[in-house]
Symmetry: C2
Subunit: 118 residues, 2 copies
């Protein structure tokens, strides 16, 4: 299953948002998501499984608890897929952005002269 498919579900997106703050027990993730979406515990468990199988989360077993952690690699791929479109909303920055991502370590001395925020 492609990362985009996995991200298609709002429950799973929420789970990933929760995981962005760091490792969380399945039960803790569950209570949040069950409340917010009105779904059952097995439903949450299934979503967690999809995240696992899609490589978006890893589990650490600790006694009877399962601690889930974010695995960023697939998100990175999504980010990479998005790269060619980024210039549509960052038109004048993409050239420099590419360079940046490649490792050019900024010989910047005059960045953001007007101090603007988008």
């Amino acid at each position: 299953m492609h990362a985009f498919d996995i991200l298609g579900d709002p429950v799973r997106r929420r789970l990933l948002e929760l995981l962005a703050d760091g490792e969380q027990a399945a039960g803790d993730l569950g209570s949040v998501v069950q409340q917010e979406f009105g779904i059952s515990q097995p439903a949450v468990s299934r979503h967690l499984r999809v995240l696992r199988e899609g490589g978006l989360a890893t589990v650490r077993v600790d006694g009877t608890r399962r601690h889930y952690a974010l695995e960023p690699a697939p998100l990175r791929e999504v980010d990479a897929w998005l790269a060619p479109y980024r210039h549509f909303w960052e038109q004048r920055l993409d050239a420099l952005g590419t360079e940046l991502a490649r490792g050019a370590r900024a010989r910047r001395q005059d960045t953001n002269p007007k101090g603007e925020t988008p």
Copy 2:
């Protein structure tokens, strides 16, 4: 339908890739995608409809042709959703990246090389 749902389909992702190069007639998009995925014309038409209804593409009618163009706004939202995760793979670059996004104005000299009007 959320942008992530729309991006979940490989045919639609391919269509967007083709549209990244600029406006394309439905037929041209179709011939590429039909060949690559072995699907029929109605199938492609349906995918184009999903892109339209999801706000990812717009159509310009020209006689019997329909020219599709990319509408980047939803992709931008996806990009924004991804932002909180980006530091997982760009740890030492994100500070500069932020600064960049805020208005650093690249010494660009090659804008709009083909002289196209949007």
